[in-house]
């Protein structure tokens, strides 16, 4: 299995670091961290990203002068010709099952995982499947 380039967009640093470490060690994939929409676009356009794990709660994040959430950012990426093909998995601590459908529709993301992540193997499996599809 080829090592994938995962981009984790998460504003809580301890959580981001530990999540990245677990994905690296359990799945053998490279994980880059950021919470800046600008960096997300730059890395995606530069071909540095195979898949994005996106926290939907990104307080303070802005893109082109507008406050954006992870959901907004996901939608922006999916509507950008250069980044549209990159699969996105939403991560959220707002674990409301009822919101799952509307979140996926609004963000146009491919998959949805609740935080805390109970089953890293399932997450890694989803990452690999989405990239290979």
């Amino acid at each position: 299995m080829k090592s994938l380039k995962v981009l984790l967009v998460e504003d809580n640093l301890p959580l981001a670091k530990s999540t990245a470490k677990l994905i690296q060690r359990l799945g053998g994939h490279q994980v880059k961290l950021t919470d800046e929409p600008k960096t997300v676009f730059e890395l995606c356009i530069a071909g540095e990203v195979d898949i994005i794990l996106m926290d939907i709660n990104l307080p303070g994040a802005s893109w082109q002068g507008e406050q954006v959430s992870g959901t907004d950012l996901s939608s922006l990426l999916k509507n950008n010709r250069e980044t549209a093909s990159i699969p996105i998995i939403l991560l959220t601590a707002y674990a409301m099952a009822s919101e799952r459908e509307s979140l996926l529709t609004n963000s146009q993301a491919n998959e949805f995982f609740a935080k805390p992540i109970n089953d890293y193997n399932a997450l890694i499996k989803a990452i690999e499947q989405l990239v290979n599809d």
């Binding site: 301890p14 670091k17 307080p59 601590a93 805390p116 992540i117």
Partner: protein, 642 residues
């Protein structure tokens, strides 16, 4: 009417070829006035317009007129009196008779008496030798007299007498018609007035606008000088009085004295002369100063309920009356007066009595007024009930909205809580998993993982504590123990606690307490101040933090109020104006970058606000903007040292 009478006297005089024919009309007092007259040149002096006192024609004589119809004294010297029925012998001697005797005795008996010597002298003084008197009746009452005088004795033939009798009957009919016409006219006027007032009463205005207008209409229409309308309020406790016209400035309680005079049976009480009313004695001088003399009192009621009273006052008047001779010189009328030359009597302060038509009108108006007031009262009660129901519905609706709002706030809080709890929990679980899987390169990394997991656990603990605090406050389970205590020692304690911080960050902490004591929960105020100072030091990188306390006077809608104002100012990062409104809401920090750089649960200020409000105080934030410092102001009620 005038013309008919004038024509009648002229025709009768010409027909009888006689010196004087006049029509004499009785007034309410029994006095009379010559209202029509025809004289032959200057053979006899004119008496037109002159009044004659009641005593000139004693009541027995008047009773006799009703009984005997036409009577004439044909020759005064021979004392011959003739009647329409010629077989009867004449007499006008009345002085020893009573009215009862006149009524009981037969006409024959009455007429067989000689002419009263007093009457003989009376006629002689008038220069009259022949006199014929025809009573004019209206409604069975003596209305007036048709009188013929001649300087010389004269005999009137039977046929002439019969014609005169017929003329007098025609005159009576004309008088009856004229009176009927007047009363119909008055009735129409009365009805027009009632209509106008009904119209007013049913206009869509409030009663306190309608009633004065109604009063202003009734008083002049009834010939009153002033009117007063006192209405008991619905609750019976208050009385509203409306005044119209020239009335003294009495207080409501004075006017209420008048109400005692009113009758209890929906009937008008007529007082023609107020001076006779003992019970309103103390009101009399002022009423008399206003020349008020007569009074009408109409109780306003509907069924058994008394609604108020309508009082209408009339002025007394000063008049002049022309009498035929001064009859007051000899009040006993033992002898007839010696002269019939005009004598002018000045009558002062004469009451103007109310007549039956006016009384009837007022009764009718009073009934209408009572019904209208009752209707208005019922309408207002009904409206009050309706408003009450509407208000209750509105309250229920507000309560429902409030409950919905609280419920949605709770859901939002729950959702936020869940998120805020899950983030550190996810961190802890991640690090524990890293440790469990042995995913660390060296001991330093191992220690770092443990340390981070521990920090996250502590953070989680703080959030759980805060959430529990908020839940407790919102459930009303948080109790405050309010007491009066000295503020300065508390502030100094805080100073001491934050001293390491002032040294570490090189920020001064200044305390300026100009308030001796404060009424609050000591422990919870300390918790709030610690929290705020913690924020102040956290968000300030240079400069100073200052705590001040002053007494301040606030102008509230309940008047001036003293409060204790504690303010915490820093020279820190400040808050953008548009973020200041939500800064006290749960889980709100100014923005995410604040959270990343400064941490915190986002619940500190929420708890501060709730605690201060529990202590009956208020908390507010002010900042001129980014990097321009922040001031948090707490106001607590001022309670004086006992």
């Amino acid at each position: 009417m005038r013309e008919i009478l004038d024509a009648a006297v002229t025709e009768v005089r010409a027909f009888l070829e006689i010196d004087r024919v006049k029509i004499y009309k009785f007034d309410e007092d029994g006095n009379g006035q010559v209202i029509a007259e025809s004289i032959n040149g200057d053979r006899l002096p004119s008496l037109k317009g002159l009044h004659f006192p009641a005593g000139d024609i004693p009541s027995q004589a008047r009773e006799l007129f009703l009984k005997a119809r036409v009577r004439s004294i044909v020759d005064l010297e021979q004392q011959r009196i003739s009647l329409t029925q010629p077989d009867r012998l004449p007499s006008t001697a009345t002085d020893e008779l009573t009215i009862e005797e006149v009524r009981q005795s037969s006409l024959n008996h009455l007429l067989q008496r000689p002419v009263d010597p007093c009457h003989v002298e009376y006629l002689t003084l008038m220069g009259v030798k022949f006199s014929m008197v025809v009573p004019l009746l209206n409604n069975g009452q003596l209305w007036g007299l048709l009188i013929a005088h001649h300087r010389r004795p004269k005999v009137i033939s039977k046929s002439h007498l019969e014609i005169i009798q017929t003329v007098s009957e025609q005159l009576e009919m004309a008088i009856a018609h004229a009176n009927l016409f007047i009363s119909v006219q008055q009735k129409a006027q009365g009805e027009a007035l009632i209509n106008q007032i009904s119209h007013l009463l049913h206009s869509p205005l409030e009663n306190d606008k309608i009633l004065p207008a109604v009063l202003a209409k009734i008083v002049p229409a009834i010939g009153g000088a002033g009117g007063l309308l006192c209405m008991n309020d619905t609750e019976q406790s208050e009385i509203s009085c409306y005044q119209y016209g020239s009335l003294p400035n009495f207080s409501t309680s004075d006017w209420l004295q008048l109400q005692n005079l009113a009758s209890n049976n929906n009937k008008v009480k007529v007082i023609n002369n107020i001076e006779e009313q003992e019970s309103i004695k103390i009101l009399l001088p002022a009423l008399k100063r206003n020349k008020l003399c007569s009074l009408l009192l109409m109780p306003l009621s509907y069924k058994q309920e008394t609604l108020g009273n309508l009082a209408i006052f009339r002025h007394s008047i000063d008049t002049e009356k022309l009498w035929a001779g001064n009859h007051q010189e000899d009040e006993r009328q033992l002898r007839p007066r010696q002269s019939f030359t005009e004598w002018k009597e000045h009558i002062q302060g004469k009451a103007q009595p109310w007549n039956s038509r006016e009384i009837e009108l007022i009764e009718s108006l009073g009934n209408n007024l009572g019904i209208a007031v009752m209707q208005d009262r019922l309408y207002r009660q009904e409206r009050k009930q309706r408003l009450l129901v509407e208000m209750q519905n509105q309250e229920l609706e507000n309560a429902r909205k409030e409950a919905e709002r609280a419920s949605s706030l709770k859901s939002a809080f729950l959702s936020s809580s869940s998120h805020e709890l899950r983030t550190p929990l996810a961190s802890i679980l991640n690090y524990l998993k890293l440790l469990k899987e042995g995913f660390y390169e060296n001991e330093q990394e191992l220690l770092e993982y443990i340390e981070t997991a521990h920090l996250s656990a502590e953070h989680l603990h703080r959030i759980v504590d805060s959430i529990l605090d908020i839940a407790k406050i919102e459930a009303g389970k948080m109790e405050v123990d309010l007491e009066l205590f000295e503020l300065e020692p508390l502030l100094m304690e805080e100073c001491k606690f934050f001293q390491p911080e002032t040294i570490r960050k090189d920020i001064k902490l200044i305390v300026d307490a100009r308030v001796k004591s404060v009424y609050a929960d000591k422990i919870k105020l300390k918790q709030v101040l610690s929290n705020l100072l913690n924020n102040a030091f956290k968000f300030t990188h240079e400069g100073e933090v200052k705590i001040g306390a002053i007494t301040k006077n606030l102008n509230t809608s309940f008047g001036e109020k003293s409060v204790v104002e504690i303010s915490l100012s820093d020279t820190g990062i400040g808050i953008e104006p548009d973020k200041q409104a939500t800064i006290f809401d749960a889980f709100i920090q100014e923005d995410g970058s604040i959270r990343r750089r400064y941490g915190g649960t986002g619940l500190g200020l929420t708890i501060c606000k709730q605690l201060i409000e529990l202590m009956k105080g208020q908390i507010s934030v002010f900042s001129e903007g980014r990097n321009r410092g922040t001031t948090i102001t707490i106001t607590l009620p001022k309670v004086e040292d006992k």
